[in-house]
């Protein structure tokens, strides 16, 4: 029953979630460490929690990660 789990996931909030402002502030550090293969979710669990829940910030992160990875090639 995917609707129930999708709704449950949407309504479930993570108390570690740092919010958009702090995630955006740290996005360059987080993306660079992620591109280097560092365990960013363990190091910055609050940012990781936010990126799992916030579509717009996750989109910015994906773009920045792609840009950083592109620079390395």
């Amino acid at each position: 029953m995917s609707g129930w789990s999708a709704l449950d996931r949407f309504l479930r909030t993570d108390p570690r979630d740092v919010g958009c402002a702090q995630a955006m502030e740290m996005l360059h550090i987080y993306a660079e460490l992620a591109a280097a293969g560092a365990p960013v979710e363990e190091r910055y669990p609050g940012v990781a929690a936010h990126l799992r829940a916030c579509g717009p910030c996750a989109e910015d992160f994906d773009g920045l990660l792609a840009a950083v990875r592109g620079e390395k090639h």
Binding site: M1, G3, F10, C20, E32, G46, E59, D60, A67
Partner: protein, 216 residues
């Protein structure tokens, strides 16, 4: 909740040079500005192309959006040079502003789009939003009725407005930022509080599990 960052040791020479060149004067600054603008345009175009499949924008519009985002990112970067603390490469820090500007420009594009409805309440779309199977309506009808009741009775006017716009009407969060003239963080926090409140009500009435948040 706040998380702190320790600066990475050993800033590379290029990253150390960018702020000096951009904060300087004369031909060296002009050359740095032109070089950075070129990089930002390249990144903005890549980013817009990456997001293009999900946007209702055509080639020239995408290119305009990329150039505008790069230009505004350059303004943001030069005005915030003092905030670069060497915790990443300079270009990574700079590209972050391209991402923000691309998001803001896309949000503005949809804000202008006549099909974006902010206040209309189409509750019939809710089952589809969460992927409820119409064939099993008997099983989820009560849950969604309770959710609607909680939205009507438990949320503040502001929380309700944000919930309706984003969840029912599918308005992009960055478009709502423009409509409500506030930050992405403020909208997110409003929705975060609404989600928490709705979940608590549904759990208290036995519609969903009342287990506390689990580590993923």
């Amino acid at each position: 909740m706040t998380e702190h960052v320790t600066a990475t040791a050993g800033l590379d020479a290029e990253s150390a040079d960018w702020p000096r060149a951009l904060a300087g004067t004369g031909p060296r600054r002009e050359e740095a500005l032109a070089r950075l603008h070129g990089l930002l345009v390249r990144i903005a175009r890549s980013e817009v192309a990456r997001r293009a499949p999900r946007l209702q924008l055509t080639g020239p519009e995408l290119d305009d959006l990329a150039y505008q985002a790069a230009a505004d990112a350059l303004v943001a970067i030069t005005s915030k040079l003092g905030q670069f603390r060497g915790e990443s490469r300079f270009t990574t820090w700079a590209y972050k502003f391209v991402m923000f500007e691309v998001s803001a420009k896309i949000g503005r594009h949809f804000w202008r789009h006549p099909s974006v409805r902010l206040d209309a309440e189409d509750w019939e779309r809710l089952p589809d939003r969460f992927g409820f199977d119409p064939a099993q309506e008997a099983e989820w009808r009560d849950l969604l009725t309770a959710l609607r009741q909680a939205v009507d009775q438990e949320l503040t006017a502001r929380q309700r407005k944000v919930f309706v716009a984003i969840v029912l009407n599918g308005v992009p969060l960055d478009t709502l930022v423009i409509e409500l003239a506030c930050s992405r963080n403020a909208i997110y926090k409003t929705l975060f509080d609404a989600r928490r409140k709705l979940r608590a009500v549904l759990a208290a009435n036995g519609y969903i599990g009342d287990d506390v948040w689990r580590r993923s």
